[in-house]
Subunit: 195 residues, 2 copies
Amino acid sequence: LNEPLDEVIKLLARLPGVGRRTATRHAYTILRRGEAYGLELAEAVSRLVRETKLCERCHNHAAEALCRTCTDTKRDARRVCVVQTPPDVSAIESSGAWDGVFHVLHGVIAPLDGIGPGDLKIHELIGRIGAEPIEEVVLATGASVEGEATALYISRLLSDSVAVTRLARGLPAGSDLEHMDAPTLARAFEGRAAL
Amino acid sequence: LNEPLDEVIKLLARLPGVGRRTATRHAYTILRRGEAYGLELAEAVSRLVRETKLCERCHNHAAEALCRTCTDTKRDARRVCVVQTPPDVSAIESSGAWDGVFHVLHGVIAPLDGIGPGDLKIHELIGRIGAEPIEEVVLATGASVEGEATALYISRLLSDSVAVTRLARGLPAGSDLEHMDAPTLARAFEGRAAL
């Protein structure tokens, strides 16, 4: 192949789930689409990494000092949903299930990986509880061991000053009982509610 | 989301097999990798579309007036492999099955899509036969109806002036008979050879 093509393939192949084969296909598609598309893509990627910073309040990605959610006056700023990563915010926003604001921890407590509370935006969360009129903190870390442990840790720090809740665990929508794993079934029985 | 992120997701989602979900994951990965990777990718894509042209001899993508294969003196320039597209050249090169040169048609004859011989680099191929010391033309268009028809068309044009061959059809390597389609089996029987 020629050198610019090799270079694009090498870089695209570093994206998750993109092997050399897919990267090659993408590089040829970019060429086939013509110069305008390629230049637009290059400029967009360059702008993305140059202009994206962390929101001063919620620590999600933002193009300005504050992100769109934090500056949106229609959001309920009294309720904060605490998540692990920026993509978690995207997933929740796409679901339309939440009209409060967010706080991004940028990870979970994982002692085996050397990640302690001080490596996350937990201190900043405590700061927000004191400074903003927050009434409820919804802990929306993952349902993994680390996610649960992080939720428990934050809950202990905050439960004296604010209402702390955790996302429900149970059967995912559309699921068959037959294919559910034991921990999910156990949680679903524990959390059963009157109809 | 914020605007630069939306823009990158929108553009990546136009690549084949990349939906909004995958594009979103890629965009977040680019951010997570840090500014250096993103800028390198942007520059590589930009260079790719700005600097890539078609080789004056074989019409494959090239960074210079002639591509790497056409300027490689170790290639057997007396044998030309005719393919539909630039990615076909990559596939053949990766296989190591060919040490001759190439000619890229940039498509196949497809009357239903309004693509006739004049839309392909067939005229240029005929020109090469006259101008270069070519002894064999291997027709490596696809085994589709259009690929076969295009091979037949070119074969009729060239067979008086040069040896014209076609890639063998038969069982793909590693295949089970049980899962082969009827046309593949029919071709494999037709082309059977003494052991």
